[in-house]
């Protein structure tokens, strides 16, 4: 791949997927600055990995696989105790339900906050599902079976339900 072709492919992929990558990065970052830093790390990883892309999967799958790996590296680089908390955070024993009285306009923020509080293995699956990926694509990105995707997704939906709150 020539440098020009690499750059063209890089820019095309990045431009087409920037909003989705931003949401993905946001689900692993505590604030906007951290999300933007993570986004830049993803871009760097994409640039470095592009020459190794051989077309075994779709470019979108390839891109999200890289992005997920970078996100895992990102949380792994945090202080060990922070990382363990991020790994083990369980909605069942976390703080109470998010305030459901938030207005409709805040739904996406509420959802985003709830997703960030999911355990890692559930967060990975739900974020990809929310980006319109089917079981096959999610399985390809995460390197797990489609059955496993289904199991994790169901658990994630249950956990999300708990986090977003059921209130009489």
């Amino acid at each position: 791949m020539t440098d020009a072709a690499r750059e063209q492919r890089f820019l095309t992929l990045l431009n087409a997927n920037l909003p989705a990558l931003g949401r993905l990065a946001g689900s692993y970052a505590g604030h906007t600055g951290e999300r933007d830093d993570l986004l830049q790390e993803i871009a760097l990883a994409l640039w470095q990995a592009l020459p190794r892309f051989r077309g075994e999967c779709s470019e979108r799958t390839f891109l999200f696989r890289i992005a997920h790996n970078r996100c895992i590296n990102h949380i792994a680089r945090r202080r060990p105790m922070d990382s363990l908390q991020a790994l083990e955070l369980d909605p069942a024993d976390d703080t109470g339900p998010i305030d459901v009285a938030l207005s409709q306009a805040q739904d996406s923020q509420r959802l985003s906050g709830a997703v960030r509080r999911l355990p890692l293995i559930q967060r990975q699956v739900i974020v990809l599902a929310l980006e319109d990926m089917d079981y096959q694509e999610i399985a390809a990105v995460l390197g797990i079976s489609e059955v496993n995707v289904g199991v994790r997704l169901n658990r994630a939906r249950t956990a999300l339900k708990k986090l977003m709150g059921e209130r009489a």
Binding site: D36, N69, Q109, S112, M164
Partner: protein, 193 residues
């Protein structure tokens, strides 16, 4: 009752999040800059090694002592040894074998283990380098031990640099042990059915 919306509703909510600024030009510059930094770092270390060896050669050329050439041999051999050990310790840590999460975790774990092992190895090498350089000067140049221990280079590299190096390596190894525990736990969880 405020039931959780179905997945399609969640998708709609999720995808209405404001997108990050599409500053692709800045991203590209950062990418290019980081790539250059990686390459330059390795280059700088290689050049530094070359300069140290060159300095000992110049010193030997200006010296009347035949033993000065042993200094060149010692420095070159020591530098080669350090590079070989560094290469050996960093085997399998350069890049993941593919783009899978398992491969990335594997590389991260290898890097942690590499740093942890490098701490005692690096300390031993550092001490060996100091002792070796003092020993050959004492034997071949006939300089007294007391004099050698009070030279500016020994004060900087030995009395000050030595403890700092040891403390730095031990702290880094401790940090990496914490990270390694996390990564191994992460690998275990991600591998769960």
């Amino acid at each position: 009752m405020n039931a959780i919306p179905e997945l399609n509703d969640l998708r709609r909510q999720w995808q209405t999040q404001p997108a990050p600024p599409a500053d692709v030009a800045a991203l590209r510059q950062r990418v290019a800059s980081d790539t250059r930094t990686h390459t330059r770092t390795l280059g700088i270390v290689a050049i530094g090694t070359g300069l140290v060896i060159a300095a000992t050669v110049v010193k030997a050329l200006r010296s009347d002592e035949p033993g000065a050439w042993f200094g060149v041999l010692f420095t070159a051999t020591y530098a080669l040894l350090v590079w070989l050990v560094a290469m050996w310790l960093s085997r399998g840590t350069w890049r993941p074998r593919d783009e899978s999460i398992a491969a990335h975790l594997d590389v991260s774990i290898r890097r942690c283990r590499s740093v942890i092992v490098a701490a005692p190895v690096g300390i031993v090498l550092y001490a060996a380098g100091l002792i070796g350089s003092l020993a050959w000067r004492q034997r071949l140049l006939g300089v007294e031990w007391q004099t050698l221990l009070e030279t500016p280079s020994m004060i900087i590299a030995g009395w000050i640099g030595g403890p700092l190096y040891v403390i730095g390596m031990l702290i880094n190894a401790h940090v990496q042990r914490g990270r390694l525990a996390f990564l191994e736990r992460l690998r275990q969880q991600l591998g769960e059915g």
